[in-house]
Symmetry: C5
Subunit: 306 residues, 5 copies
């Protein structure tokens, strides 16, 4: 297998990484239906941890089985499958070598007391990622939370260890907590800042939510208006977020959020493609649909991105 010129170009952005990490990035970029295009579609399944099993899987009962998700990701030709420790342990051997894996290192859950310091528990180690044959670790930060400095220090240590062992680092950057308003969590200035923070923290792949055209911080709003930064369409906002990730020199993928009708999903993906986004991480919209429908949807998603 030869890397495509586009994948080689992407790898060139990660100029400080060792060959092991570059190989794992290449493994994800050269796998599945989008292999070689530089685009990524990743299946993430951490809903069970976040919202509990019935809310996640009752709508599509075969999804209670960890093997279901490995199989779905392989069959759909996703670039990687991302999940938490127990889920990966339950299938990593059966599906060894069939799809790159991302071990999600920290998780939140719906039973936690609410507060202005949202946080996550670290539930896996870099050694776990290595023994399970993963290509990358995943980690969520909550910019804005009173616990965000702790989260930054945790990913600092985990990313250093992961990179030293040839793994790639994926950061989920989800602003929340502190003084952030509910609208602000999806505001384009905040999303762009969130993507930038993830890049500064050393992420290879950055995952943010698709932003709205709301502007949260007064100081930022002034700049967006004075400099006439165009955030009027979703595609423009995707392009702005990508620019804020080292002028595009970092992979940025966008998440779909909760289940919605198919056309909305395709519209989102089209905007990502038009804005130069690097792909999508799409969970509930996939595994909460019947398998055949999910495969058909993913096929269409990948065709849009290709």
């Amino acid at each position: 297998m030869r890397l495509t010129p586009r994948v080689k170009e992407i790898l060139s952005w990660y100029e400080s990484d060792n060959p092991g990490t570059k190989a794992n990035l290449a493994r994800m970029l050269m796998h599945g239906k989008l292999a070689g295009t530089g685009k990524l579609v990743i299946l993430p399944v951490d809903q069970g941890f976040e919202h509990g099993p019935a809310r996640s899987f009752a709508v599509n009962p075969p999804a209670y089985d960890p093997h279901y998700h490995f199989d779905l990701a392989v069959e759909a030709g996703c670039n990687a499958y991302a999940s938490v420790l127990g889920m990966l342990e339950a299938g990593a051997s059966t599906f060894a070598g069939e799809i790159p894996l991302i071990l999600k290192m920290n998780s939140s859950n719906s039973l936690l007391p609410k507060g202005d310091q949202p946080n996550q528990a670290v539930t896996a180690s870099v050694k776990d990622a290595l023994r399970l044959g993963c290509s990358a670790i995943g980690f969520t930060i909550y910019p804005g939370s009173g616990a965000s400095n702790d989260l930054f220090e945790e990913i600092r240590a985990l990313a250093e260890e992961a990179k030293a062992h040839g793994l790639a680092v994926v950061i989920w950057s989800y602003p929340r907590g502190g003084f952030l308003s509910k609208d602000g969590e999806l505001a384009v200035d905040i999303s762009a800042y969130a993507a930038h923070l993830a890049a500064l923290l050393g992420a290879h792949i950055i995952k943010v939510k698709l932003p709205t055209d709301f502007l949260e911080l007064p100081e930022a709003k002034k700049v967006y208006e004075e400099k006439k930064i165009d955030v009027g369409t979703l595609a423009k906002r995707v392009a702005h977020v990508k620019q804020c990730a080292f002028n595009g020199r970092r992979l940025v993928i966008f998440s779909g959020g909760n289940t919605k009708d198919k056309q909305s999903v395709f519209d989102d993906i089209t905007a990502i493609a038009q804005g130069g986004g690097d792909g999508s991480i799409i969970g509930r919209n996939v595994f909460q649909r019947p398998r055949a429908e999910a495969l058909e949807m993913l096929d269409k998603v990948m065709n849009i991105l290709k």
Copy 2:
């Protein structure tokens, strides 16, 4: 000794574990009267820590002696005996090789100030488990507690170390604290979530309480009703919890709670058996009865499960 097909099937669920851990799981599954059936009856004695010695043992004074419980578990043909550091140190040599042991790693006590952040103290190490010849470590998490993320991070570290040393991991998952109501602690949506969290944290064996048909979380209640998840009988609830443990691919055992009349115990066990539960962990109902009566009860319990 050859493993039975059922035990081989169970071991196949733990596909990411090393041979040492699989051997220790097999050791428990192939021991005692239920050997080879895939069912488990475990004797746990941590009541002294939780409620004090007189409340635990005065009703049956021979039980003040740590040897009493080892002997009882051996005689009854339990799959394993679980207790805290001091209790195991006091008999592990005398009963070496007679029954698999589970070292309970953390404990709470009745003298602790109450609050919304229930927690436990870690009172043993993986090295302790190894030097005492144990097959597994046990650990309690309190989903819902403000201290739950700390508990998750503690078991993450202990489980990683235990698995690396060929031990199995048993998680007691007991929701409490935070915004959980008293009824919610036993609600079926919460119990199922608790079992799922334990599975995601990497438990080999999950211990939860038998759930009621109460539904605690409004978002979950909606799903249970829309999807018509049948939780009308105890057996159905057991089956649902088992489904939430990786579609049944994890061992789930249920605890009996405080002392009650024998028929209630047998009814509970019958429901576990009907619902496809993997067995029971039964403490006070055993050691707070006279020895002969306890042995007779355990025999009946095992016959129901067999």
Copy 3:
């Protein structure tokens, strides 16, 4: 020197310990006037830390000198001398080989702000105990305190290290803080629970205060009354506490508390002997008396216990 049958029996209780730890237990049990009897009288001098030097030593000024206490313990034929880091460093070489030493690892002091989370500072290490030639480490826990889980986790780590290096572990179990009433600190249900907790935490020797017949916890009170546990005399209470220490399979010694008249001391010791207690740890009542009087008192105490 041959161990006596009684000492051999006592050592048999500690069946999970390595020969080094057993040898150190034997060293204490085979030393002094009570050598071989299985009884222990230990001189503890941590009053200076707890209450300051003048309150501790002004009544008997030679006691300002650390050598005084070593010499007194040797001369009286105590089984061991227990003190804090600085005190042991000041005499361990002069008196090397003349008496077994216990290094008290944590201490409180009278200048600390009061609160419901009483705690102690760890002021020595296991390495200190080894370099000073000690036979055991000593550690205070405060069951009931909001800091008790922290204390339990500290002694867990220290005890593991001590045992691995062939030292014995002595736990001072002093209930206080949290919701405990002043009377409750000495209540017999609480003392028995405190002794049990120390045993569960892996102590070889447990030190508690002599309990009153008060019952603190309503749930416990019910059991004591229903089961007619006899706590009407001090001797009965000593016997009950000893039963709660693994049915007597752990050494339990009782402390004398603040200075009182000699007859009260002898009455206490007589009750300990009658109740089957394993001895006494007696500090202020000894070093706050003139040397000759102290020696005479200790001689009588030992004769009662013999």
Copy 4:
């Protein structure tokens, strides 16, 4: 290359450092247009972390690209380029050997909840600095903050590790938080104290803001007035701060603050030169101007300092 006498003199101040650290100090002092003069102009780019990408770079969009800043610093002939982990990872290989690098080890951000305990997250390690080929680590302390003791302990550990590995240490000393007034943050007594603290903590290069003639602490004010310490002009204040850095035996550079008109910048630099300051760290005033204008400005700045 031979060191100039001035650089040799400066190195002689760091008499306790190993040759590796001295070589890295020399590397910065012998690089760029000011090579050999003993003066330093450093380009720092951590604005993206502190204020977000749009507020930092929208005014000059090429600055979104990490390579832009490396290139600018090289082209301008700065002594060093300082930035955070992700920024350095994105260009350290392309520009390897072209300019000394300073890895900024901790960072704050604008989404953090406000409070009287301002703090920063540690986002890089000494190993990161070594693998990226840096000459120094940079670290911000907030004297006055309730978190300042934590910050001091963090830099203590990082500086020890950095020095042992032959790196130099740059401390940004920015008083804020606690009882400090807004005016006090720039008060000359506070700035001088801040510089002194950085020196005492072992910094090789100290960065403070240019102080005003305000005096914050009453006890200090009394001394400044009694001893007639002349703080009437900016140059005098620079000289006083430099005196407070070990009587001038530590390199002290001053930051420019937010963007202002060019003449103000040149006036500041002139005062630094007149007061005997060792240079300037100048970020926003450079990268928020068009490249040609920035290069012209830096050239003038260096000519003033030369």
Copy 5:
């Protein structure tokens, strides 16, 4: 060089220390004008950290230079020079071998928020002390502070490491915080307690302030009155504090406090000599005077102590 009988006697008090630590104690006791007398005069310069540079040095501007203090201590024939990391780094090489050094390991500063939990930041390591050629580490504890247990645990670890590496340990014991009154900080019962705590924590040299005849703690006051402990003169109080330091078997030196007229200084020193104190640690009264005057004063101080 032969040790004098008095120095040999002093070394005999430290019977548990290794030869390395004894040699470092001897190094200090055999250096300077008081060499061999068993008396100590130490120059400490941590005022810059505590009160800022101008308040410390403006009265005598040459003192801004770290070399000034090394030189002064050497010239005056002090036994040792004590200062913080940056100050020692700035001169340890120039003055290597000319005077024993004490590295002050923790420090407070005047910009910290006030509160009832006064604390200090650890700003140096034992490795720093070794690489700088020091003979001892210095550490401040605040008995009474809500942070005192943390301070005790910090010095425990540092002292263990220092002793294992052959360094001596000097503890500054300064009661403050918690329920202590302002008068209580200097009360003789509190000072004596503070000295005793430092001894118990394993200090070789204890530094306390000269106490007043105030008695702070009611329980202690009762004892002082009943036992007629004579604290009526400064010399008697010095003798009492020395007695509380293991009956005189630990070196206790007294600090002079803020600048005062010369006669007051000499009166203090005379009382120290009469009370059997082991010397003085005298900073501001020295370096805040012109050099000639300071040397003259120190000469007189040493003559009084000799």
